[in-house]
Amino acid sequence: MIRLLTRDLRLAIRAGGGFGLAVAFFLIVSILVPFGVGPDRATLAPVAAGILWVGALLACLLSLDRIFATDHEDGSLELLATSPVPLEALVAVKALAHWLTTGLPLTLAAPLFGVFLSLPPSGMPWLIASLAIGTPALSMIGAFGAALTVGLKRGGLLLSILVLPLYVPTLIFGADTVRRGIEDLGPMTPLTLLAGITLGAIALLPFAGAGVLRVNLR
């Protein structure tokens, strides 16, 4: 399975912009917001946490439909299904590869963008913590959505409609952690709930994703 992961990461790098794509999109979102909302700190600071989280979420969403589509088009998805690697592991590894190429770089770049949006410094550690814990859930739920829509025409649009509602709990708890972290109102509660969702997603969704892949490969 590690071989599958290394292959996917090598493909992401070779295909160019593997790591940078999501961060670039996130950067653009973080820059566009002040143009839209106005530069002064008073308006930006309170909404910074939410915008950073929505930006990270959309950056994850963008690269979801490529998770299985390339393998589906060149036939390797079928061959992988008949290989000793169980489909559940395949879905989990694909989600991990997606997280490494989008979730992780976003988490590392977030503080910089936080400065753009004048996020109070007291919120920075909580921003990193919530993204580090929350983005794996985004990748795992996204991998399930990608498995659901692999092989469908116009699958990309459908994928967003199906996956965004599933992102709501993660978004609420993630952004809430940062907001509470800024005013120090006990951010640990939403953070632990966020961790709960992530662990639940990682534990259960590979099976749902594998079930769905089997149906789509029929």
Binding site: L164, I172, L193, A208
Partner: protein, 242 residues
């Protein structure tokens, strides 16, 4: 003859044919009686004035919005486990009804809350969770329409319904956590009857029965339509193959 016997299409068509007329009639009566009774013959609430009359639409539609999704969850499970076509087609048939009920709950809820909140939409947690439920319904129907092969569509939508239900529940509590909430307490939680006096209570009960009967009648009707279009699909497949 076990309960599952009703799952085979021929028997279901026969049974539903006999059940639909009385169901439609009964639901019509209940709705008419309940709404007229609630609208004309109940006093105004001392606090809310005449807007209290909206509960006769908001409470039943809100309850149906949730119960229809639960029905879809059960029928999807029945399809995944026992592979009964009628069950998954009933889920597909129920989705648009669920959407209508959710829209009605949202609309009446917003209007009912307007005097209290000063605006039509105040992100009240209960109403917001209906908005999220609406998104789940939308995703379910969108997935059905995106897939040609009926069996694949049935499997994928059923799994989406399962996963969606878990996340709908999560969203329900996340939304509570996110905004303390301005919604009036559970005006009809099954245990706390005393918060509405009897004069409001009986017409509400009749309305709820009306909505439930209407739902059952409609889902039978729409499931028959789904079975017929599936049969049409099977025939056209065969004609193309022959």
């Amino acid at each position: 003859m076990s309960f599952w016997e009703y799952a085979n299409p021929r028997r279901f068509m026969g049974l539903s044919d006999r059940l639909m007329p009385p169901l439609f009639l009964l639901s019509g009566i209940c709705l008419a009686v309940g709404l007229i009774w609630g609208f004309f013959f109940t006093p105004d609430d001392f606090r809310q004035g005449s807007t209290v009359k909206i509960i006769y639409l908001h409470v039943p539609s809100a309850m149906m919005a949730i119960n229809v999704w639960i029905m879809m969850l059960v029928t999807s499970l029945v399809w995944l486990i026992r592979r009964h076509h009628v069950s998954v087609l009933a889920a597909k048939a129920a989705a648009p009804i669920g959407i209508t009920m959710t829209l009605m709950a949202l609309f009446t809820g917003a209007i009912w809350g307007q005097p209290m909140w000063g605006t039509f939409w105040a992100w009240d947690p209960r109403l917001t969770s209906f908005l999220i439920l609406f998104l789940f319904y939308l995703g379910y129907v969108a997935l059905w329409s995106a897939i040609e092969d009926p069996d694949t569509a049935a499997d994928l939508t059923s799994i989406l319904c399962l996963v969606g239900s878990v996340f709908a529940l999560l969203s329900r509590y996340a939304v509570n956590f996110w905004n303390q909430g301005l919604h009036q307490g559970a005006s009809l939680s099954l245990d706390a009857e005393e918060n509405i006096s009897d004069v409001f209570w009986f017409p509400l009960l009749v309305c709820i029965t009306g909505f439930v009967l209407l739902f059952v009648a409609l889902v039978l009707l729409r499931t028959r339509t789904e079975i017929r279009s599936r049969r049409l699909h099977a025939i056209s497949l065969r004609e193309r193959a022959a």
